[in-house]
Symmetry: none
Subunit: 250 residues, 2 copies
């Protein structure tokens, strides 16, 4: 069923199996097939999901479950997060069409890509959004702005399908590969542990915001493998004593 | 709730109240408010419709019921019919975007406009389609082409809302100002002087390339004022941490 590569759909803490099934159906309408679930509330597999998928069984049956958003995106090159409205995160904000174009460009360059969708009640939390390279918001009427989960997936898939259809087969651009999210995660943890040691991420109630803002900087940069390695080296060089490191203090 | 004139949504022989409610919700998302029902199977009004509308009550409560498609469109100037696939009718076939543009053109010219959607099971019959000026079809994946009723309305509304230029939509997020290049320059020099002190930018013949690559990372990130200040703080904190580590062992 999967012809050409397409973005992965990642549902973070979805609640009802029915809604997961509706998402699967919307994905199938637009040629998306890879579904990942982070901590589905009502468990998995789900008969209700299968029933609501109205025949998009291959999407439901192929869904994989993860214990955290970070794990679910660890192997992906570019990740977008859907939010009801722009948040104060200084990340690029895309409408679904611009998002589809960005994803298509990256996928043409040989990247893997994913789109994060939050649960039915509250959407993505800020820590999940912070993991993404950019944010997708949907243009809706201000007096009734909220889309449900399957509708958000539907609009995103629609724009993806249109972008693919309009382009046909664009030649691949040679672009350096983006670092996998797992490597970025290790860079973040390295930097943050040194900043903790330096007393920089202080006071504690401000730490989450400071961490998110720092991560946003590096996510915006679309880092390559090589750049992540350079930054690891920079953090080490700035914070560690070069000679006799680790021996003096033992 | 209705600001500027917009197309009427006409559901022909819809079955479940839930689905009518979902249609109302999708309409409200994109600023459509006038709903007409032709022979709703399960009767009208419908508690289930109201509940499924998730707050788009004004659409459900304002819905009017008609005994035939012809009556429901009698006062309208231009009518489009949605179908799953083009039929042998020698009518113009539009995708949702082209349909929205045509409707907007007509409404701007002072016309009234409507869009026909068929019931859940079989869509519009040929007699209903024959009443329309043109047909809307949705681009979907051939192996899973069928959209449900509310999804068809959602995509149509989405394109309508986009075509209207988002005039009723929320203003785009005001992007935070980028840092002046002079501040970036000071960040670069600060970082590089600390890295020189750490012996990181070594050997000398590789220094220019290493510096360029590091600068590229931060240039790609489109840094704001605040982010440049944060990064200055990070460089300072890490360098001071190292000094502390150096003196601790002395």
């Amino acid at each position: 069923m999967t012809a050409s590569p397409a973005p992965v759909v990642i549902l973070v803490a979805p609640q009802l199996g029915e809604n997961i099934g509706m998402v699967a159906r919307a994905m199938a309408n637009f040629g998306l097939s890879e579904l990942r679930l982070v901590n589905p509330r009502d468990g998995w597999p789900s008969e209700k999901a299968l029933s609501a998928a109205s025949g998009a069984d291959w999407v439901v049956e192929g869904a994989r479950v993860y214990g955290s958003t970070a794990e679910a995106i660890a192997d992906l090159g570019v990740v977008l997060a859907t939010t009801a409205r722009p948040r104060e995160m200084a990340k690029p904000v895309l409408d679904p069409q611009a998002a589809a174009e960005r994803l298509a460009g990256r996928i043409d360059a040989g990247e893997t890509a994913g789109i994060l969708f939050g649960g039915e009640r509250a959407g993505l939390d800020n820590d999940d959004v912070a993991l993404a390279d950019a944010v997708i918001t949907f243009p809706t009427a201000p007096e009734f702005a909220s889309l449900n989960l399957a509708q958000s997936v539907l609009l995103t898939g629609y724009e993806w399908f249109r972008t693919r259809g309009l382009e046909g087969g664009r030649p691949r651009q040679a672009a350096p590969p983006l670092a996998p999210k797992a490597d970025l995660q290790r860079l973040f943890e390295h930097l943050e542990s040194e900043l903790d040691a330096a007393g920089f991420l202080f006071p504690p109630e401000k730490r989450p915001t400071m961490v998110r803002n720092l991560r946003t900087i590096f996510l915006k940069a679309d880092l390559t493998d090589q750049e992540v390695r350079s930054l690891r080296g920079v953090v080490r060089a700035l914070s560690e004593l070069k000679q006799r490191r680790g021996t003096d203090t033992n």
